[in-house]
Assembly symmetry: C2
Homo-oligomer: 139 residues x 2
């Protein structure tokens, strides 16, 4: 049959509670430091690619395509563990953040983590240093 020519998708993808857009949020947490680096979105293909490659692949909502993290910057994320929460609607990756002389730069602003705005009661202060010039990341 024609159906047999379709690539088989593993049944564990069906266990995920994809939202009405077919997406779930995915957290990247750094192995070792256990810092939360970033949150992005995944669809079925992104999660399958992440597992197959052993590197984080997200779904870019703005570009509406798969986004192999680090494809431009070299800041790929090697995936060591993949978790799903009790409601099965959030993914947690344990990753090793590669790139730029071991600085572990996950954020497009050149910072280690994307969570660099800290609430101090008056506003959100940027409290993490810029480790790499962003213009050097996307050249």
């Amino acid at each position: 049959t024609h159906a047999s020519r379709l690539p088989a998708q593993p049944t564990w993808l069906d266990a995920v509670a994809w939202d009405e857009r077919g997406l779930v949020p995915a957290i990247a947490q750094e192995a070792g430091s256990k810092d939360v680096l970033m949150v992005a979105w995944m669809n079925r293909e992104a999660l399958l690619e992440t597992w197959a490659r052993g590197q984080a692949v997200y779904w870019s909502r703005s570009r509406q395509r798969l986004w192999h993290k680090g494809e431009e910057s070299g800041h790929v994320q090697t995936v060591l563990d993949v978790r799903l929460d009790c409601d099965r609607d959030v993914v947690l990756l344990t990753v090793r953040q590669e790139g730029h002389e071991g600085h572990g730069v996950a954020c497009h602003t050149g910072r280690h983590s994307c969570f660099f705005h800290q609430l101090d009661g008056e506003g959100w202060a940027a409290v993490e240093p810029v480790l790499v010039d962003p213009e050097r990341i996307y050249r």
Copy 2:
């Protein structure tokens, strides 16, 4: 004027990139262990209450009301730090998970963390122990 009788909302709430439903995902990360405990949702009121109380308050999408985490179970989360990511659409809380003899049970299943399903290539295996009988949590 009548406008002056409205409760003033701090301007830092406007800096958050609320989605089309007026929500953002919020990650609760345990201080010390740095374990990611859970992800829930916040609207403006939930984030404001979280800051005002110093305890995590989420927006329950299923019950469509504010959800003061631990209000039934006693498993409140004392909030030590509030972060916002580069895109300003995800909140990260650093919390101390209270309740049940210091077990730090965040999950309604009686586990430490909600992220207890681990992908092993065949499926999602439950790899974290149940520390507290769920029936003891919501009695």
